[in-house]
């Protein structure tokens, strides 16, 4: 072991060190997914069955003379996209509580890797994992339902997917600060936030059916615009120009939420260091 004392230290530019660390966070989450593989199968099955149970509502309505294929597609887009976006939000918002639960929070926070890098690495994995899982669910569900995708504009759908992923990453960063500030109650607050997003964003119905005050809240949810844009692209073949009413709010939200989330997280970290909250037990 003696030569280790003289092992060359990683004298690399800061950006490269941060890039290696970001890959470290993404790789760690991949390792965790492998280790919890059976649970991953369970969650995949649950999400698939959940999407299918929603899809059958559309099939049922079809018997009543309504355009069932369109309604089924409308519902499945909502269910599958919600599964993807809520998973990104959950993975980001659980960044701190997961580390606290495992007991690694102090080790991670005293390392030279920045919090932006940690959140970036977590986001990269969340998006890659989310896309793979969603594609799988979409593939399975499409075997069971006649989805109306004859007019779909997949390029517009892809742009919407990228933009809403970025917005949700930002929103997840904001939520991730909660368990940092309150080890006991932070994650519960994030869960309530998820529930509100599900209620107001028009996942299974049009936002227009909501009471006025809920519609007002829906305007601040990136998922509202993601669903409107995605449905317009996949059901009606809307071009980028036509989905602009959904794209510009997502662009603005992404531009505000990502740097805003980082700033809020850094402020939360400073507060936690001042008050001694960066402990494994809380």
């Amino acid at each position: 072991m003696s030569e280790l004392a003289h092992a060359p230290r990683a004298e690399r530019p800061r950006w490269l060190l941060e890039l290696i660390a970001a890959w470290g966070f993404a790789q760690r989450n991949f390792f965790l997914t492998k280790r919890y593989f059976l649970w991953e199968v369970v969650w995949l099955a649950y999400a698939t069955v959940s999407a299918m149970s929603i899809g059958f509502i559309g099939v049922d309505v079809d018997r009543g003379g309504v355009d069932g294929a369109r309604l089924t597609t409308f519902l499945l887009i909502g269910s599958i996209l919600w599964g993807y976006l809520s998973m990104i939000f959950d993975l980001l918002s659980e960044t701190v509580s997961w580390e606290r639960w495992e007991g690694t929070i102090e080790y991670t926070f005293m390392s030279p890797a920045s919090r932006a890098t940690q959140l970036l690495g977590t986001s990269i994995y969340a998006i890659a994992y989310g896309v793979a899982r969603t594609a799988l669910i979409f593939g399975i569900v499409s075997l069971f339902f006649d989805m109306d995708l004859s007019n779909a504009n997949y390029f517009s759908a892809l742009v919407i997917l990228v933009l809403c992923s970025i917005s949700l990453v930002g929103l997840g960063m904001v939520a991730a600060v909660m368990p940092l500030l309150s080890p006991e109650k932070g994650q519960q607050v994030s869960s309530i936030f998820t529930a509100v997003l599900l209620l107001v964003s028009g996942v299974y119905y049009s936002v227009s059916v909501l009471p006025g005050w809920m519609q007002a809240i829906a305007k601040f949810s990136p998922i509202t615009y993601a669903l409107e844009g995605m449905r317009a692209a996949l059901l009606d073949g809307a071009t980028l120009n036509e989905t602009w009413p959904s794209i510009w709010p997502l662009l603005i939200m992404g531009a505000i939420l990502v740097p805003g989330g980082l700033l809020i997280f850094r402020a939360g970290e400073r507060y936690a260091k001042r008050t001694g909250l960066l402990k494994r037990s809380g």
Binding site: I20, S114, R280
Partner: protein, 275 residues
Amino acid sequence: MPLTTIGPRALEIRGVEKSFKKRRQEPVRALRGIDLTIDKGEVVGILGPNGSGKSTLVRVISTLITPDAGTVDVFGIDALHHPKTVQKMMNRVSVEASFFKKLSARENLLYGSKLYGLTSAEASPRITEILEGIGFRMKRAGEPMENLSRGMQQKIALARALLTSPMLLLLDEPTTGLDPRSKKDVQAVIWDIRRRHDASILLCTHDMGEAEELCDRIGIMVDGELIAIDTADGLKRKYQSGPELPTLEDVFMAATGTTLEEASMEEEEKELVTA
């Protein structure tokens, strides 16, 4: 003994204060005007009961807690204003090995090394070398950490710290709660680090024998205050009252008016009252 005093010290702490406020309670002063230095290559032990402020001190040095007052310099760099720079130079092993329990030793070490800017290609051969060096059977390197004994987990925590070639190593009660054999194994690894590596070490412990065996100087900490610091012999001479040199236990008793065990119990009772 310290290898060298040329250039800045490995650690220089001046007047560090830290209080914690609990809701509707008086602030608790966890650190009271701590002054502490560690020279390059020196091993300094801090002896103190539970709740005396040892872990808070380690957290302050490792940039996890911001002190209310005072300065912390690591190799001449202000840790409070340049935390990222000093974080690269140090690593820490705490009382509980902090690992992802479902991940294997190798996966945890790969993750840890990337946080410090080492690629998998650079880290992998060093992981094998270090794990073999601490007597870890490589066929277990793929097993989840939760399957390994606590003693083995602590040895892997030391290996993880070594992997990043730290210039300052913070050991916060690394042998507390281990069975006697595991304790000896972990102490042997620490002894090996001290013998073979040029890292400076701060070792917080309850164990007088461990402090005397491994440390160049020993500090005694009670109620957030560092009340004495010297070599083991220096402390014994300072508190000598008869013809024979006292033991370190006697020194602790003379300096604090209580035994380490009694002091730990008192601190735990205080914590229960204020909780």
